[in-house]
Amino acid sequence: MSIDDMTVRHIARLARIQVDDVAVSALAHDMSRILDFIAELNALDTRDVLPMTGAIDIELAMREDVVTDGGYPDVILGNAPMRLPSRDDDYFAVPKVIE
């Protein structure tokens, strides 16, 4: 199966990856190769097969719905590439989204 440049640009937008023209054509080529490779599954009849969603049979663990962690904004913000200039504000900073 061959993927065209427009599809690559659409998927790149969904994946939030910026792509230039060179990247688009390289990705179109590689993704087409990979989709050809995985198309082999079409040969199998799986109508009556239940999807397998986990590697082992395990019941989902339950716990009390209580706060078990938190209360250290400085640690959380310690790795942030950008913070608000005021030291009193425990916020991540992002580019302006409202004009």
Partner: protein, 496 residues
Amino acid sequence: MLTSLTIAEARDGLISKQFSAGELTAACLAEIEAASALNAFIVTTADTARAAAVSSDERRGRDAGAAAARALEGIPLGVKDLFCTKGVSSTACSHILDGFVPDYESHVTERLWANGAIMLGKLNMDEFAMGSSNETSYHGVVRNPWRGADGVDLVPGGSSGGSAAAVAGGLVLAATASDTGGSIRQPASFTGTVGLKPTYGRCSRWGMIAFASSLDQAGVITRDVRDAAIMLGVIAGHDPRDSTSTTHAVPDYEAAIDDFAGSLKGIRIGIPREYRVDNMPTDLEALWEQGAVWLRAAGAEIVDISLPHTRYALPTYYIIAPAEASSNLARYDGVRYGLRASGGDLIDAYERTRSEGFGDEVHRRVMIGTYVLSAGYYDAYYLKALKVRRLIAQDFEDAYQRCDFILTPTTPSAAFPLGAQGDDPIAMYLNDIFTVPVNLAGLPAISVPTGYDHNGLPLALQLIGTAFDEARLLGVAQILEIAAGVCARPTPWWKN
């Protein structure tokens, strides 16, 4: 040399005071310093390692009995950069996690330090564990301590290439690793080391940087099978912070490996006919047959089995793993940690950050994952793959009606030269043809070095067990290891 000891040998030497943890750690740090050409370490924590070794020696001085009871007291180890380590850079060798220093410790490494082990530093790997040659790392390729006949540089395998090279090259006694489609077993095979991938759920994934969460499993690369048993005994066990980590009891794996006492009477070993792939090197084919002969000589019965959906395992994996990866890697947005590229608006900042921060292979997999999960394609690709995954797991269940363990080669070839498979992603994916089915089925498996090819490069066989039967798996693996008697070491060319 202290640095070529196994964990068990070092443990005995520390207990009998032949050397101290300080001497052992200093010896490892010297080897690491002399091995920059291998590029196995991306961070060396020399000062904290020396301090930890002093503490270990003091603890032993105060209470030798308590120290001897801790499985890894005074043992220096390397940690794959996939594991978060408190106060030490943890990036999964991705540019996008530049500068990320976690304030918490992964469950697996927490268990190591609680049992007395000493961290030497963080080990190189393929970016986000996506690769089979360690060539996708942001920190550059790792060189295999083993070289080709003509002195050509070889890949160490991947994604745990730094872990495998560090153990094979005598820089560390053992290392942590992780395995999503073969990332422990394939590099172990390429470097003549032992690689153990436990059952899915055996070790907590808390603090491991996620790739494909339904496949990722922590494990170890060691010098021998006994060391793998010692390490597994420490890192296995329930952790409430990972809802898929199970409450199965953790047996004494080291004691269990001696239970067979050299005899495999009553044990049936399955040989899957679908693993006889075209173009298998004759050295490898002969070694596989020899492996069956060794196990038969130990009393096992060899039976032919069929895993009919084997050919669909790689295509299934290359839908499920990228799908999960595209979801897991959505968290890297440049806002909360790691790299941030400056952009116009918020969306632009996200897109530039993820374009600059991820390498080519990660881009490919995130794109494929996004594609197979996108509207209109979900059923045709992702849902289909989940169904085929069940057929593959069912193959193993059926096979285990007729046998107790399965014997296969670990990889379709010995280690290949740097750059040899660079241009074609599919050719690289084929490296994991024998390892990927095991991850899809969630089973435990171990790669045991059992021979050499015509160029003197390590070859290995893989033993696959049933879920949570690592104790017996390790026992059979040790019998195979002893029968093979592989003991050659690479020439330390990197010290020149």
